[in-house]
């Protein structure tokens, strides 16, 4: 009897306590499947390519046989990643959840700046929820590449994942993962060869490593 009462009291206290204090619900989070990092004009630029959940789950109506438009990528700039996070928090209603990121796009400019490259790796490493199996690529202009994918109605992250997963038997540039970047940088102080993406006539093209 005593145990039952104790359990009931604890349960009641938990119920009262948990009202509104629980974790952020899934529908209140933004899930970018990919994002890019660039460094230009003495500032970092991060573009988040959010998942088009309605489109990919078939819930979005399509009119006249046309592809639905993807969600607009979100662009943020700042002198450091803390500032970028602040700008996101100040302007967006959804909690940023990087736990589903499948691809990260680095600009070639960033790879040629050792200090900023190291800061970027440190920032990525501090995102505990970010998986180290996210694929990484390089390109000249991340905004163009992401826009090319988004114009098809599919999010950039899904597009890139599809390139690797939907045709497993075909030859294509070896995928480079985020964990390998850390491994190369911290142990050998080198930058590995990145597979390259480019936007040619509105289409994304995957090239061998550079």
């Amino acid at each position: 009897m005593k145990k039952l009462i104790s359990a009931a009291v604890v349960l009641f206290a938990l119920t009262e306590f948990l009202c509104g204090c629980a974790a952020i619900e899934p529908e209140k989070r933004a899930y970018p499947l990919a994002f890019s990092v660039d460094y230009r004009d003495d500032a970092y630029e991060v573009i988040y390519a959010a998942a088009n959940l309605a489109g990919s789950t078939g819930q979005e109506k399509q009119e006249g046989g046309q592809q639905s438009e993807g969600r607009q990528p979100l662009v943020f700039s700042g002198t450091d990643f803390g500032q970028i996070q602040e700008r996101y928090d100040e302007s967006q209603e959804y909690y940023l959840d990087l736990g589903h990121v499948q691809a990260i796009l680095f600009s070639r400019r960033l790879l040629h700046r050792p200090k900023e490259y190291e800061e970027t790796l440190l920032y990525l490493q501090n995102q505990e929820i970010l998986g180290q199996n996210a694929r990484v690529f390089v390109c000249d202009e991340p905004a163009e590449v992401i826009a090319a994918a988004e114009s098809t109605g599919i999010s950039f992250g899904e597009f890139i994942s599809g390139m690797y997963e939907n045709r497993p038997d075909q030859d294509k540039p070896r995928a480079l993962e985020l964990g390998e970047l850390y491994q190369e940088f911290y142990n050998y102080h080198t930058i590995p060869s990145f597979p390259e993406l480019s936007a040619d006539d509105g289409s994304i093209v995957l090239h061998s490593g550079v």
Partner: protein, 350 residues
């Protein structure tokens, strides 16, 4: 099927120890830089050797722990209990803080620390129980699945090991090896509270069971450290905040049917952590409840919650627990059982 005599078997004791410690050791010791590299691995093995001697002392001293007040007097007994309780409060707070951080990052992002900590504590208090036989049965039943899960996960992760990174680890160093040995030995001080329970273990070969439990824990921890070294490299490992959690995000199951494999790993870790938290609470009740005072478990839980969440200046319990363990509790918890054993023998002879 089970006799209701408030006692557990040696197998149940063994499995409880393994289930309660493996998760905590994997989460926490894989962040301990003293255990990285060749010296760290050798240190771990040496620490295990020292632990075996310590376990012998604990078993021999257990008679003195049955009723410390009879041996040390009322005041001495109370001081002894308070000493062990202070260690349990600190260790429990530390463990709760680590588990809370993991849960808030991977399972409940955006949640309040207090919410996650209260949930974890409530599950540990209510779920793992205060009844010694219930805990024994729970440990006995969950041991095969949990240990198999850990071994399978590590085996899958081992496929991603790069032998070049193993070869590139720093050369053996005597000083680093000793540091690693002391670090591992210190982590095992949680076993110092087991003598309070040993009179309720119906088994003659208690040392063998405890040694085998710790051998399993050491094997899994050592394997994980080697695999981490082979995947991240020594310098990469030093940079990681929680390498064991990152480890599984590097691994993909064949077929790619699970996008994030690490969630299964986290589930196993969390179960073991919760059992470990429950173990701390159980021993807190065992040590803290004597005479007419029977609320020790709840007081301990409250102190653990406060210790886990209250900031200490700009730091928290995780910043200084290692220092307190290294400089005070490890030497003290080594000396006290030796004293209890020898003093108990002397009093018996006298």
């Amino acid at each position: 099927m089970f006799s209701d005599n408030d006692r557990i078997s040696g197998i149940q004791l063994r499995r409880q120890i393994a289930v309660g410690l493996t998760g905590a050791f994997l989460l926490i010791l894989t962040k301990e830089s003293a255990l990285f590299g060749r010296s760290g691995f050798l240190g771990l093995l040496c620490g295990f050797g020292g632990l075996l001697l310590y376990l012998l002392v604990l078993v021999h001293a257990s008679a003195s722990y049955r009723a410390p007040e009879l041996l040390l007097g009322r005041t001495g007994g109370a001081i002894l209990r308070l000493f062990y309780l202070s260690y349990l409060v600190l260790t429990g707070s530390f463990l709760l803080a680590e588990a809370t951080a993991m849960v808030r990052t991977y399972l409940m992002p955006g949640s309040q620390g207090l919410t996650a900590a209260v949930l974890l504590l409530a599950v540990s208090l209510l779920g793992t129980g205060s009844d010694v036989q219930r805990r024994g049965r729970m440990g006995e039943a969950s041991y095969p699945l949990l240990m198999l899960g850990f071994l399978v996960m590590l085996a899958v992760a081992a496929g991603a090991v790069n032998s070049d990174l193993l070869d590139a680890a720093p050369a053996l160093d005597g000083g680093d090896t000793l540091q690693g040995a002391y670090a591992y030995y210190g982590a095992c001080m949680i076993l110092s509270v087991v003598p309070f329970l040993l009179n309720r273990v119906q088994e003659e070969h208690i040392f063998s069971h405890m040694a085998r439990a710790m051998a399993a824990v050491t094997l899994i921890t050592g394997s994980a450290l080697l695999i981490l070294l082979g995947i991240f490299g020594y310098e990469g490992l030093v940079q990681q905040k929680t390498p064991i959690l990152k480890l599984m995000s590097r691994v993909m199951l064949p077929g790619g049917f699970l996008d994030r494999f690490d969630i299964i790993w986290i589930a196993f870790l969390l179960f073991s952590l919760l059992f470990g938290l429950g173990t701390v609470l159980f021993y807190g009740r065992t040590i803290g409840e004597f005479g007419t005072f029977t609320k020790g478990g709840y007081v301990l839980a409250l102190l653990m919650l406060i210790g886990a969440l209250v900031p200490w200046g700009r730091a928290d319990i995780r910043s200084f627990y290692g220092t307190a363990l290294q400089w005070f509790y490890t030497p003290a918890l080594t000396v006290v059982p030796i004293f209890m054993w020898l003093y108990g023998k002397w009093r018996k002879m006298g």
